[in-house]
């Protein structure tokens, strides 16, 4: 029987572990996953997803405006 967690080469093994998730909360793997999710949510331009409710470019534009205002 094939065991993907052991038999797959990198980076496919990492993708397998992300989808076939077996880690506990508050581990470094969990932190990495949370960072990736937050990056997707906050950094993806709403236009790319056709977001029906977003009114601006979001946190990334707020940060840009704040930096420009300094």
């Amino acid at each position: 029987m094939m065991r993907p967690e052991r038999d797959l080469p990198m980076p496919f093994r990492a993708i397998w572990h992300a989808l076939y998730w077996q880690f506990e909360r508050a581990t470094w793997q969990y932190d990495v996953m949370v960072i990736l999710i937050l990056a997707f949510v906050w950094l993806t331009p709403p236009d790319w997803l056709g977001d029906p409710t977003a009114r601006d470019a979001g946190p990334i534009s707020w940060l840009a405006r704040w930096l420009a205002g300094r």
Partner: protein, 201 residues
């Protein structure tokens, strides 16, 4: 300590005070569960009207009740099989309410695409808990997959507070699909793979 561990520990401080207050007044945990659901229905209404920040604030309040009911039950020694069942059923009510709020909002906007994304996310969110419940009648434990209820709830709040609900729905959908299939695969392996026979009930 990890970043998420630190965030969890920080939020536990005020929650401990709330739990202590509920224990002091001997508020029944099943009542706390019910109050949590009713507040979540109010959050769903706010989502349906497109008032995301209000919905986020209401969801935060609702989830305090959701979180503390089990802890209060333990402290008051009122944990029971019915309490666990009641909690699970009420959790599904809360989950479905929030998705229905979004489905209503997107249908009012004429956005069939996001009506479908929300409906599919709702379907797989329900299947996430169903697959685990059903699997655990066959195997000892089936705790695989990332997108469980706490993750979903926190994502909903992030989406509401930062007005990024579309991105959040995509994350919930994709990771819920992965979680459901992970649970199906895990259960199949636990029942068929000789290396995992210890996992079978």
């Amino acid at each position: 300590m990890t970043f998420t561990g630190l965030v969890g520990a920080t939020f536990m401080l005020p929650l401990r005070a709330i739990i202590a207050t509920c224990v002091r007044f001997r508020i029944h945990p099943n009542l706390l569960t019910l109050i949590g659901v009713l507040i979540n229905i109010a959050a769903a209404c706010a989502l349906g009207l497109g008032h995301f920040v209000t919905a986020g604030a209401i969801m935060t309040l609702a989830n305090i009740f959701d979180f503390i009911d089990g802890k209060v039950a333990t402290e008051l020694k009122l944990s029971s099989e019915f309490g666990g069942f009641w909690d699970s059923v009420m959790d599904r009510f809360s989950d479905i309410s929030l998705f229905i709020g979004l489905i209503y909002l997107y249908s009012q906007m004429g956005r069939t695409d996001y009506v479908m994304v929300s409906a599919l996310a709702m379907m797989f969110a329900i299947l996430t808990s169903y697959t685990r419940a059903r699997a655990e009648s066959l195997v000892v434990k089936c705790k695989v997959g990332f997108m469980e209820r706490p993750e979903r709830i926190v994502l909903f709040m992030i989406g509401a507070f930062t007005n990024r609900m579309a991105a959040v729905l995509w994350v919930i959908l994709v990771l819920s699909v992965a979680t459901v299939f992970a649970r199906i695969y895990y259960t199949w392996r636990a029942l068929n793979d000789p290396e995992m026979t210890g996992a079978a009930a």
